[in-house]
């Protein structure tokens, strides 16, 4: 196989290393200077002003930016009505001059429009869809039903307005989006956790927000995890609720045939007094996967936090969990 270089943009490319039983994943063309990135809000609302740090940075990177009609729209928590959000996203999916769609923010709302979006043109001319949290809905759909890679990363609302005040991990997280969309192979080194289960695994990387994954179980956007490396993250959930969600993963068979499991950030809501759950995230996870042997690692820099590194969902990765170091490397 030929390695795919950053400048290779002619056509979406079939990933020949996809697993048997699941069709190969198409990698959308990587972006080159002058390409256009669309900004759309399929879920929560964001103001025109609040996307400016992202617009500025994308232009610094050499891209053109097209603001979708949902930017600055507000229908309660949503970036416009269902109809408005659907239409804006549809336009961006279909517009051949747009090479990537960066979501304004997450929040809630993608599930309300996903079944009304038409991915026919997108499937023929795939492009990068960039976001996380509620955007897990779209990522899961394109992975499961269209077999197209997508980028799990920070969105417009997380681009620092003042870079001089940004922490290095924020800078690195934003920079990793550029690396992803321009075709660099992603290589992450992260800190071992004593609860990790060591081992190495090759597989397609999939995942996202745990609660969003749970609420897609038994629907047509339910994520298929067999023979894949799964990553999950979540925020503002009680430990008991996190425990229940991992039971959902287990009882829906999503943990049984993994190649590896990556646990990102979990911002835990404090137990109510008298209702102390009594287990850590590590304990909650390890008891669910004790019957399996694949590598498991904690504290990967992905989630609702400053260090939220861009991940290419659908691309082949190698996960190496050792006692002294952990790595996630994109491979081809």
């Amino acid at each position: 196989m030929m390695p795919l270089t950053a400048g290779f943009v002619s056509m979406g490319r079939i990933n020949e290393m996809a697993n048997e039983g699941d069709s190969p994943v198409q990698i959308p063309p990587y972006l080159k200077p002058g390409d256009t990135i669309g900004i759309s809000c399929p879920a929560g609302s964001i103001t025109h002003e609040d996307i400016q740090p992202a617009v500025k940075k994308l232009m610094e990177w050499g891209f053109q930016v097209k603001e979708g009609s949902t930017v600055g729209k507000k229908n309660f928590t949503f970036g416009g009505t269902d109809e408005e959000r659907k239409n804006d996203f549809q336009e961006m999916l279909d517009d051949k001059s747009i090479k990537a769609i960066l979501c304004g923010r997450g929040g809630y709302g993608a599930i309300r429009i996903i079944d009304d979006l038409d991915f026919k043109n997108f499937s023929k001319h795939p492009k990068w869809i960039i976001g996380f949290s509620d955007i897990t809905v779209i990522h899961s759909h394109v992975n499961r039903n269209l077999r197209v890679a997508a980028i799990h990363s920070k969105m417009c609302n997380s681009f620092p307005a003042d870079w001089s005040k940004a922490e290095q991990v924020q800078v690195d997280s934003i920079e990793s989006i550029r690396q992803c969309i321009t075709g660099e192979k992603m290589n992450y080194l992260f800190t071992p956790n004593a609860a990790n289960r060591t081992g190495m695994a090759d597989g397609e990387l999939v995942g996202g927000n745990l609660k969003t994954l749970e609420t897609m179980a038994d629907t047509k956007t339910d994520l298929v995890t067999k023979d894949k490396i799964l990553f999950v993250e979540d925020t503002d959930e009680y430990l008991y609720s996190i425990d229940r969600m991992f039971w959902n993963l287990k009882r829906t068979g999503k943990l049984a045939h993994l190649k590896g499991l990556i646990i990102g950030g979990f911002k835990v809501k404090k137990d109510d007094a008298g209702d102390e759950f009594g287990k850590t995230i590590e304990e909650i996870v390890m008891e669910k996967v004790s019957g399996y042997t694949y590598p498991v690692c904690f504290d990967f820099p992905v989630g609702h936090q400053k260090n939220n590194m861009a991940l290419k969902c659908g691309a082949q990765h190698k996960l190496s969990v050792h006692l002294n170091e952990c790595r996630l490397n994109e491979i081809r």
Partner: protein, 303 residues
């Protein structure tokens, strides 16, 4: 066909166990005394008022073993769960229903207990009792019509519930098997072996303490997993202690439900007394009922 466990008669034994959250023994005292005054013997498990110091009423093993023993004990004629909370989902796959299937008995509870009701309905085809639990008997609760409805239900009286009309109701009549429970748990069970089959059934829903956006998402899950497509009827109970995000969702839970069922034609009633509040009629999950949603009010009658 659904198997209906034998109804209780005087002298029968009701076991009390806590398969999920911790419950202090004194909080179940009124319940125990009331059940005795109804003519039943009560057998209290160790998980009630156990020595547990965390969220649960005992370790998974302790909770499972006690429930298993009560399922298997032929001298116990029904099991009343002390309380819900969270925890049934952690032990459900470890329970052995072989003997229970041969000698079914009423399992009584709601909220987290939705897990076992769904499991019974989908896997074992045995009816369960969605009803008030031990704490509902406290503060004179044992006198109210909702706790009293449990007494009637377990002794085999056919329920005929009436409730007021609601402006959002969709009129109609449906006769079908009744299933349902807590929305969060029904959503959580999607894709698992305990997932509820709602086809051609009357579904009832209630919940507590959830964010509006999250309930919207769970209702979308029910819709997208096909659970609303062929319903015979829908009963919306209480959705209490609702939380909203900083940016308001902009719709009430009843507005959300009305909107999501708009494409269908089955009868829908809102404000039915099934909830985490006092208003919580005993409902036999798996049993056939007739739901009549009329202009003047709503009737739910066991067939």
């Amino acid at each position: 066909m659904i198997t209906i466990p034998p109804y209780l008669k005087k002298g029968d034994v009701i076991g009390i166990t806590c398969p999920a959250g911790y419950m202090a023994k004194e909080k179940a005292q009124t319940c125990i005394e009331t059940l005795q005054s109804w003519g039943f013997e009560v057998m209290v498990g160790h998980t009630l008022g156990s020595a547990s110091t965390n969220y649960f009423s005992g370790t998974d093993d302790e909770r499972r073993d006690e429930l298993q023993a009560m399922l298997d004990d032929e001298h116990i004629n029904a099991i009343l769960f002390g309380r819900g909370g969270y925890g049934m989902g952690r032990i459900i796959d470890q329970l052995n229903f072989t003997r229970f299937k041969k000698h079914p008995k009423w399992l009584i509870g709601f909220s987290d207990i939705t897990v076992i009701h769904c499991h019974l309905n989908s896997r074992l085809k045995i009816a369960g009792m969605h009803a008030p639990m031990a704490a509902a008997f406290n503060d004179e609760g044992y006198k109210n019509e909702f706790v009293q409805s449990l007494r009637k239900a377990i002794t085999g009286k056919k329920a005929r519930y009436k409730t007021a009309a609601h402006a959002f109701n969709r009129l109609g009549i449906a006769s079908a098997e009744l299933v349902g429970g807590n929305l969060t748990l029904l959503s959580h069970l999607c894709g698992t072996a305990s997932e509820l089959d709602t086809r051609k059934k009357i579904l009832f829903l209630e919940d507590i303490g959830e964010y509006t956006y999250n309930m919207d998402r769970m209702l979308y899950q029910l819709k997208r997993s096909g659970k609303l497509d062929t319903l015979a009827g829908l009963i919306i109970g209480g959705f209490t202690d609702i939380k909203d995000t900083e940016r308001p969702f902009g719709k009430t839970i009843y507005e959300i439900i009305r909107e999501i069922v708009a494409p269908y034609s089955f009868p829908v009633c809102f404000g039915f007394p099934v909830s985490h509040e006092k208003e919580n009629y005993a409902l036999k999950v798996g049993v056939n009922y007739t739901l009549q949603v009329g202009k003047a009010g709503v009737k739910l009658s066991e067939m």
